[in-house]
């Protein structure tokens, strides 16, 4: 609880600091509407994948989803190939867009279910299972696309997901926020959320308590897959083309975001709002460095520094030191307490 609140405060503080820093060094242009929109539209792809990783981690027992970006690419590629065989994107724009979106989500969902079944039914360690499916998904995407980029084009509906604004907010970002909110609500208010966190805390106890273990695991990876499918749609909408090897660096960045958000790698704890803020922090920092024209190797260094900072926050009571007020309110909470679904 104490750690949890601290992480959120720290993330908010870091985001604020980065915005101020950006404004200071760019003479305000970092905070221009256009740049804020540009950063917001870059965020959803990786943010969705990070939420998927968070869910898998929360499931405990070494849960992780390495297949996220591969599945996102597969969703985009396969859906584009199948749908363009029947509908031309130039002629019936809405039909194409809807079919593409539905296809990508279905493929993402299916891929996630496969992950979940392999892990829950065959008891394969998640890291090995998703490593395997990652390669399988990528391989399949190469086969169906022949290793080339597949053209999706910019039919009206897709193009507006990728490029248009609603009340000056990019639609892709709105989608991301809505989905994140939805998942946060599911974790907080449904039995599934409670099961997931408790199972992550103590898998053995969960089995003896009669939790539907298989169901929870399959649902978790299916949601993660669905998020990948959505990421695939956003990638296609923004880039016009989809390719099997897009975003190969996202794999580790998604995990970095989840860990920075205080998601426990051993399971049982994770907050969606922290993952979103952590993704925002990484985006701000990376854009800041690009604004400054610094080498991208500096960015890797800065990300590493940020991660270590957050690990330190978790380990030492840094927030209590920084914000004494919070420590007092937190320390008035009686300890020990049962693990709660904290979302």
């Amino acid at each position: 609880m104490q750690k949890a609140g601290g992480q959120l405060v720290m993330l908010v503080a870091i985001n604020g600091l980065l915005l101020v820093l950006g404004a200071a060094i760019s003479g305000g242009s970092f905070l221009s509407l256009f740049n804020l929109q540009s950063m917001a539209s870059q965020l959803p792809e990786i943010g969705l994948l990070a939420i998927g990783v968070m869910l898998a981690m929360c499931a405990g027992n070494g849960g992780i989803d390495l297949s996220g970006i591969a599945l996102a690419n597969l969703s985009g590629v396969l859906s584009a190939v199948i749908v363009s065989a029947f509908i031309s994107s130039g002629e019936s724009e809405t039909a194409f867009s809807l079919a593409f979106i539905f296809g990508a989500l279905a493929i993402g969902f299916l891929g996630g279910v496969i992950n979940g079944l392999l892990i829950s039914k065959l008891n394969i360690t998640p890291i090995l299972c998703t490593l395997g499916t990652q390669m399988a998904f990528m391989g399949l995407a190469i086969v169906v696309s022949g290793g080339k980029a597949v053209m999706v084009g910019s039919p009206a509906l897709l193009s507006s997901i990728g490029n248009d604004m609603f009340l000056a907010v990019p639609i892709s970002f709105l989608l991301f926020v809505i989905v994140a909110g939805l998942i946060a609500a599911v974790l907080k208010f449904t039995p599934y959320g409670l099961w997931l966190m408790l199972m992550g805390t103590n898998p053995k106890a969960a089995v003896y308590a009669g939790f539907p273990k298989t169901g929870v695991l399959v649902a978790t990876y299916a949601i993660s897959g669905l998020l990948s499918g959505l990421a695939g749609i956003i990638i296609a909408a923004r880039n016009v083309n989809v390719k099997f090897d897009y975003g190969s660096s996202y794999l580790l960045i998604a995990i970095l975001i989840a860990v920075m958000a205080g998601v426990k790698p051993e399971g049982g704890y994770g907050r969606v709002v922290c993952v979103v803020l952590s993704a925002v922090a990484l985006q701000l920092m990376s854009s800041l460095l690009n604004f400054g024209g610094l080498s991208n190797f500096v960015r890797d260094f800065a990300w590493g520094l940020l991660l270590l900072t957050f690990l330190a926050v978790g380990r030492y009571d840094l927030t209590g030191f920084l914000f004494p007020g919070i420590r007092q309110t937190v320390s008035s909470v009686p300890v020990p307490h049962a693990p709660k679904q904290d979302n």
Partner: protein, 336 residues
């Protein structure tokens, strides 16, 4: 605990301050900014290109030119850099796309905001104002073959290597080579278009097979960057250095040893330094709203009389004559 956090905080603060300082100096200028974005930073090819960008910046004090690129070879990372540069509001982008298809959407948005877009190594890029290519592929293939023919005294058996049969440029190069060899009746092409997959070891095995099958072979023309190394090693180990001719695409530094022993006759390439300068020169012309005309001089060696054609999209395709053929005597001028 408290002292630890204090130390930690102090450390972070110092790091942040240093970072801010270094960024601050790089910002704030009113001159037009040309941002070169390469496929990946920190590899010899693009380090060499950055020397060209620097040279261009020094020669043109009225613009700011700089180069950046992702730390990992991922088109998504390159895309983000370009998006941030667009948001920052640079005047021109000079991009060497990791994957032209992935960048189409972003480059289109950049052009809609009035940013000049120039590309390199992407003659199929639709959303660009000008794509700069170092040379015409047919001319390059013919030039490699001409050098090979000269070494072979215009006669004997020869063969060709390509990266893969699907590699469009490689097939164009060897195709032009075959065309050129028809001029010499003594030259006999055997087992053409061996696939190397740009793997020096695989090429080495393949070249040994060919040497066994055709003991009287006189020449090799190769295409992918590592082919000269594989074939060169096979020739060297067979003790045939200097007796068999080998001409192909390669880079000076890795090929240096084999050039010295004579296993490689000559390597062909284009100089990324000059390509970087040419891209920036084109970007500057476009910023100044000057016209690009056929046969014009970009003021860069190898790009003194460029051919200007219609490109894949609305933009232009600019082809220089920037090929370099280097042998034992001249490779030291291009160490990268």
């Amino acid at each position: 605990m408290k002292t630890l956090s204090k130390k930690f905080l102090a450390g972070t603060a110092v790091a942040a301050a240093m970072l801010t300082g270094s960024i601050g100096t790089l910002l704030a200028q009113d001159k037009p900014v040309i941002a070169t974005v390469v496929k990946i930073s920190g590899i010899p090819w693009f380090d060499r290109m950055s020397t060209g960008v620097q040279a261009f910046a020094e020669a043109n004090p009225d613009v700011v030119a700089s180069q950046s690129g992702p730390a990992t070879a991922d088109s998504a990372q390159q895309l983000q850099i370009i998006q941030d540069l667009v948001a920052k509001g640079v005047s021109a982008l000079a991009v060497v796309p990791m994957d032209p298809a992935v960048l189409e959407g972003t480059l289109k948005r950049a052009m809609e905001r009035g940013i000049v877009v120039v590309t390199h190594e992407a003659d199929n890029q639709i959303n660009t104002q000008a794509d700069v290519e170092a040379f015409d592929n047919a001319d390059y293939g013919a030039a490699l073959n001409e050098r090979l023919a000269k070494c072979m005294n215009n006669e004997g058996k020869w063969t060709t290597f390509v990266g893969s049969l699907g590699s469009r440029t490689h097939m164009q190069w060897v195709g032009a080579g075959e065309e050129n060899a028809k001029k010499y009746s003594g030259m006999q092409l055997v087992d053409p278009n061996n696939e190397s997959f740009d793997d020096a070891n695989g090429t080495y095995e393949k070249a040994k097979e060919i040497l066994r099958k055709h003991p009287d072979i006189k020449g090799f023309q190769t295409s992918a960057g590592n082919d000269v190394l594989g074939v060169g090693r096979a020739i060297d180990e067979a003790g045939l250095s200097g007796k068999i001719c080998l001409v192909g695409t390669g880079l000076p530094n890795p090929s240096a040893d084999l050039l010295e022993t004579g296993a490689i006759t000559a390597i062909g390439f284009w100089d990324p330094q000059k390509a970087g300068m040419a891209m920036n020169a084109v970007a500057k012309l476009l910023i100044e709203k000057k016209e690009l005309t056929d046969g014009m001089d970009l003021g860069v060696e190898g790009y003194n009389k460029v051919a200007v054609k219609k490109g894949a999209g609305e933009g232009l395709l600019i082809i220089g004559n920037g090929m370099v053929l280097a042998d034992k005597a001249t490779y030291k001028d291009y160490l990268f």
